[in-house]
Amino acid sequence: MTTTPLPSLAFHSKTDTEIEQSLLGLDPVTIDAVLRFRHTPARETLRDMLPGLVAYHLPRGAALPPSPLTDAMRLAEDLGLDSLALSEMTFKLEEILGFAAETREVFEIRTVGALIDFLSGKLSLS
């Protein structure tokens, strides 16, 4: 798979402190998955960090997402993420993983599998 090289914006040159700030509020399991991914990027590690990220972006009282998440699960109907929450979650992923996404691209993502494919493509994962 070929991907467009990341633009060399300061936005994508996060310091460790900035990364840590982006992780504030996330649960330890998710933070561990993020740190593992930064050390050894792998598609399945993305899946490990998603339940915690989804839970963080749900409203108060919402049912927590199952773990692990399966590819067929729909982000809106099954997990409860509205478009703003999906945008916010993707923005956080951009911050902690270092890629750039267009809002219109994000709005086309419907399922967990599509999200992992999208992230894998952005991050040049096989």
């Binding site: 914006l9 300061a10 504030l24 509020g25 963080y56 749900l58 108060r60 923005f91």
Partner: protein, 422 residues
């Protein structure tokens, strides 16, 4: 045959203020003239043009990262509820839930269309500054999804209305330091016009360098570093206002609704009035002409006269021009009978958009707890104050009627008249 005009009554108050976050603490501070002001150094190492402020130590929303905001455990707030809010949204949600609890109204009852929500807030210049700085850093390509709803002036009502499932009237008011008073005044109209049975009125300010420091550019801030004396409304030594943040919430409802529920009525908002100076974007009419008209309109609306007023909670912010203008307006209105006048900003500092609602709530406390706050920090009254009555200590007196004054940039003046339920 037309129905009688509904009466707007107060059945709940909530406070997140520098005088306390519990009603009794606020009452005690007002009664004993205990100041809520303290040293404030939000940007250590810099010589800022403001040294003190009205602080709320039990909350910390100073970070631009909502994930590390904190509030007392007793407050029923979930991080997911406030993650996209401006910082003062935390104060506002806490104050609103306190007011609803005091009024005996469950949140599940709010979504029936007969409850509205009016808010007053300047938004969050702090969050806007942060979000725009990051956007610029990204080459203007990556706005955070919360950039708008966590920062602009309407952000308070956006979030509170959706969180509480409000289906009646919803609006935010932006008239600078008269915003909270406008919100309450128009909420009274919603009740009187029969459009709503209940109105939730909420005002909040974040207190941040971004909100406060621009006022130094017009010489409006006190440079004093003495919390005990810096805010001295009507005093000859006054040299600018001291800022404060926080939130106040008020539950307003029709008297019929309150009686039907068996709710305790704390006070009646008997009338209100507004009038603009039509003169200057930032400075008041030197004679207080707009404020005088607003006071007269409010009295007419309430069917009362100056002689019926036992207390005035003045707007006076401790600025040279504003306090003098208000004193002159008060002189013009109160020719014989002199009510007890005070500006509680001597204790709280100036809450900007929140000020008018906070002080209306103080007036409710005065009526409900049978006292009139004294004027703190008044040592040498301005010559314009000659003949006006500023009690040096609080009075154990049940006021018959109370006037609450507010003025904002652009010469906006708003006045409420509050009375007992009897």
């Amino acid at each position: 045959m037309t129905s009688p005009t509904p009466t707007a009554v107060v059945t709940g108050l909530g406070f997140v203020t520098c005088l306390g976050t519990q009603r009794q603490d606020v009452v005690d501070s007002l009664r004993h003239l205990s100041s809520g002001l303290a040293p404030w150094d939000p940007l250590p190492g810099l010589d800022l043009p403001v040294k003190i402020a009205g602080l709320i130590p039990s909350f910390d929303v100073s970070s631009i990262h909502p994930a590390i905001w904190s509030w007392p455990n007793a407050m029923d707030i979930h991080p997911a509820e406030v993650r996209a809010m401006p910082p003062q949204g935390v104060y506002a949600l806490a104050a609103l839930r306190m007011a609803l609890a005091e009024a005996g109204i469950a949140e599940a009852e709010l979504g029936t269309g007969d409850t509205g929500l009016y808010c007053a807030s300047a938004g969050s210049p702090r969050m806007m500054h942060h979000r725009l700085s990051l956007l610029e850093k990204s080459g203007w390509t990556h706005p955070h999804p919360h950039s708008v709803i966590s920062s602009i002036a309407g952000s308070l009502n956006f979030h509170l209305a959706s969180l509480l499932r409000i289906r009646g009237s919803s609006c935010g008011f932006v008239s600078a330091c008269a915003s909270g008073s406008h919100a309450l005044g128009f909420a009274v109209d919603e009740i009187r016009l029969g459009r709503q049975q209940r109105m939730l009125v909420v005002a909040a300010e974040e207190l941040s360098p971004e909100t406060v420091l621009p006022f130094a550019g017009m010489g409006a801030l006190s440079p004093s570093s003495d919390p005990a004396t810096a805010s001295c409304p009507f005093d000859r030594q006054r040299d600018g206002f001291v800022p404060t943040g926080g939130s106040v919430a008020l539950v307003l409802e029709s008297a019929a609704s309150a009686q039907q529920r068996g709710a305790r009525i704390q006070a009646v908002v008997s009338g209100w009035g507004q009038a603009c100076d039509g003169l200057h974007a930032a400075s008041p009419d030197p004679e207080g002409a707009g404020l005088l008209r607003a006071m007269r309109l409010a009295l007419r609306d309430a069917g009362l006269t100056p002689e019926d007023m036992d207390h005035v909670n003045a707007h006076a912010t401790s600025t040279p021009a504003g306090d003098k203008a208000e004193a002159r307006a008060l002189h013009s209105l109160f020719q014989g009978h002199q009510p007890a006048i005070c500006s509680t900003k001597a204790l709280t500092g100036h809450g900007l958009s929140m000020a008018g609602l906070m002080e209306a709530a103080f007036c409710v406390l005065s009526l409900d707890h049978d006292f009139i706050p004294g004027q703190a920090n008044l040592r040498q009254p301005d010559e314009a104050c000659a003949g006006l009555f500023f009690p040096p200590a609080s009075l154990d007196q049940k006021p018959r009627a109370v006037m609450n004054n507010s003025s904002g940039f652009g010469g906006a003046n708003v006045v409420h008249i509050l009375t007992h339920s009897s």
